[in-house]
Amino acid sequence: MAEMTYLQAISDGLRVEMRRDKRVFVIGEDVGVYGGAFKVTLGFQEEFGSWRVIDAPLSETAIVGSCTGAAIMGMRPVAEMQFADFISCAWDQLVTVAAKQRYRAGTPVPIVVRLPSGGGFSGGPFHSQNPESSFAHIAGLKVVCPATPEDAKGLLITAIEDPNPVLYFEHKHLYRRLKAEVPEERYTVPFGKARVHREGDDLTVVTWGAMVHTADEAANALEGDGVSVEILDLRTLIPWDKKAVLESAEKTSKVLVLHEDTRTGGFGGEIAATIAEEAFENLDAPIVRIAAPDTPVPFSPPLEKAFIPQVEDVVKGLKELAEY
C-alpha cells in the first residue's frame, strides 16, 4: 500500500494500465508536454513517448472521434477533457457514434473519457458542472463517479478494460484534498457495485462523488443526536447498484438522495423513482432529494456555496427526515 491523493491514484491507475497493455494510449489537450491541466499525466510523455501520450488540438469532437476510430481498430484510448463541461462539444461523436456502434455494427468501442468535473473552487459556469445524468440517459454509455483514491484507481482500470465507452467523472474538488492508502499493484473495482461508505440503521443517504464526503460530515453531526446514517456510495451510475439501494431502503425505510448536479433531471430522480416503484411498502417517509438548484454554477464564492449542497443542508435534510 502507498498513500496517494485522489489525483495520484488516477495517474497510478492509468500508468499501471499503460505499462501492462500497449494498446492503451492517452489523448487530450495539454496532456503531453504540459502533463495535463491538473497534472494527471505529468511525466507520462517521458515514460511512454509522444505516440502514446498525444497532445490534441482544441477540438473535443476530434479527440472523441479519433478515440472511437482507434478503439474500433483495436486500441484502448483514454481521452481527457480538460473540463467535463467541454464534453458537450463531443456530444455527437459520443452519443451518436460511440454509444451506438456496438448496437449497429457489433464492434465494441472500448474508450474511456476522463472528465474533471464538479465545483467548489469558483470555476464558474463553464468549469464546474456535473453533467453525469445527461450521459446516464444515453443507452450504450457507462458512467463512473469515484469518491475515494482506492476506487479512483480501481474503477479507472475497470473502465479501460470495459468494451464499452465509459465516461469517467473525476471530481476536481477531491484531487488533492483526499489522501488514502491505495494498493500499489493492479486491481479492479467492479461496475454496478455500491460501496457502503458508512453503516447505519435509521436513514439512508444514496450519493456519489464528492457528495459522499459531504454526507459523511453530515452523518457525523447527527451521531450526537443518536441518529444513525447509512451512506451508500454508488461508485457507478450506469450501471447502478439497485439491489444495494433497495436493501438499504428496506433496512432504514427513510432515504435521502444527494447529488451535486442540478435537481431537475438529475440522476437522483431515477433513484427516487425506482425506490418508490420497488420498495414502496418499505417506506416510512417521502424520499428526499438534495441537489443543486436549476441554475448555472455561479462564479461568486458565496453564491457557489449556496448552490452546491453543503454539510449544513444535508444535516437539515437528514434531521427533518429523522423527525418525520
Binding site: E281, D284, Y324
Partner: protein, 477 residues
Amino acid sequence: MATTEAVDVVMPQMGVSVSEGTITKWLKQVGEQIEADESLLEISTDKVDTEVPSPASGVVTQILVQEGETVDVGTKLAVIGGEAGAPAEAPAAEPEPQAAEEVAQPAETPAVEPAPQPEPEPAPAAAASPAEAQQNGKSFVSPVVARIASEHNVDVSSVPGTGRGGRVTKKDILDFVESGPPAAPPQEAPPAAPPQEAPPAAPEPAPAPAAPEPAPAPAPAAEAPPKPSPAPAPEPVAATAGEQLEPMNAMRRGIAEHMRRSLDTAAHVTSAIEVDMSRVVDIRNKLKPEYQKTYGVNPTYLIFVARAVVETLKKYPWINGEIRGEQIVTRPWVNLGFAVELAEGKGLIVPVVKHAEGLNLLGMAQAVTDIAERARNKKLTPDEVQGGTFTITNPGGYGTFHGTPVISQPQAGILGTYALVKRPWVVQDSFGKDVIAIRPIMNITLTYDHRLVDGALAGRFLKDLKEALESWDEVAY
C-alpha cells in the same frame, strides 16, 4: 338506473387504520334485485359494524365471500348486474339480468346514479380544526407502517406515535409489535361453521319481462344460497361434551385486545364521590317536557353529568390529556366518548362527541342521542369512534352503585356514573341544624391513569364536578 355492466362490490376502507373486515350478513342473495344505495350486506371491522350499500341497481349476480369470512379491504365481495357469474356456487338459473333490468327501467323508478364507491369515505375537511389536524398527523400511515400493521394484525391507531404530528413511525410500530400484546388470530371461523342465516323464504314469482311494473320485485333465487365455504381456521379449539363454541367477532376481539392492553399500559386507580342531584333533578323535570316536545330528546342525568364534566375538564387538562412517548399531551378541546352497549349485551362501542366544549346542555343532549342511536343501528363512521380525549360510562342504568371501568387508551381517565338512589342524607335546615332529608344521590367514579394523574388531582376534579352538579347554574350551562 339499472346496470347492464357488471359492477363490483368491494370491501370498503372503513377508516385509514382498518385493513380488513368480516362479512356478518348478506342482506341480498344471488338472483335478487337491489337498488343503488340499498343495503347489500353487513360487515364488521374491529372499529365498527356497518351496512354496505349497493354501488348500483341490478341483480346480484355473484356473491364471492361468504358470511363469517374476513377479507382485506378492497377484496371483491359481490357483483351486481352483468352476465350471471360462472362460479359453481352461483345459481345458473333464471332470471336473466335483462329481465330485472327491464323491470327497473320505467320512469317511476327514481333514477339513481350508481355510486362510484360502495362506501363514502370520510373526506378530509379542507379547513381542519385543531382536533382534526391532530388526528391527521396521528392517522397518516406510511406504506411500511401499513405493511407491518397488516402483517402483525395491529390497529395502527392504538400505537403511540412519536413522528411528526404524532405519526406512527416504523420504529414505533416495531417497538409496539415487540413489546405489545400478542396479535389476535387473523381468522375467526371455526371449522364447519354453520350458515348463520337461514335461506330466504320462498321467493315471489318473477315479473314477466314484457310486463314492466313500477316496483322492482325480488327476482327468484332458483336454489338456496350457496353455503359458506369453510374458512381455514388457525387452530381448532376443542370443546368438551356439553360446551358450545361460538366464534369471536371482530368487535369482541377488538374489545378483548384493547381491555387487556389498557390494563397493561395504565396504572388504574379509582376514586368515588357521592353527589346530591336534587338541583339537577328539579331542573331536569322542568326541562324534560320542552326538550321532548320541541327537540325530541331526553335530558338524561348522563347529559347533565357530561356537560359538567366538560366544564370541569377545562380546569384539569391532564385528566383530558394523554401520555405519548415521553411527552404529556394536553389540548384545549374535549372529545367526549360515551360507552354504548349494543343489542343483547354482545358488544360495546364508544362513539365520540367531538368538540364537546362547544355544546350547551341541549346540544349535548342532541349529540349524545344521535351517536347512541347510530351506534345501536350500526350507522357510525369509523372516525366517529376515534379521537376521544375522555370517556364517560354509565353502568348505573341497572342499579349498580359502584364500578371500576377500564380506561380507553390512550386517554388518561374514564368517568363512571351510577344509579340515582334516594337516600337519607344529612343536610342543614334553615337554622343551620343538621337534619336528615331524603335526597337523590348519585355515585360518580373517576378511574384515572396514575402514571399521569395523582390522587389529589383526581380528588379535586371530583370535588369540582360534584359542586358543579349540586349548584347547577342554568344560565351558565
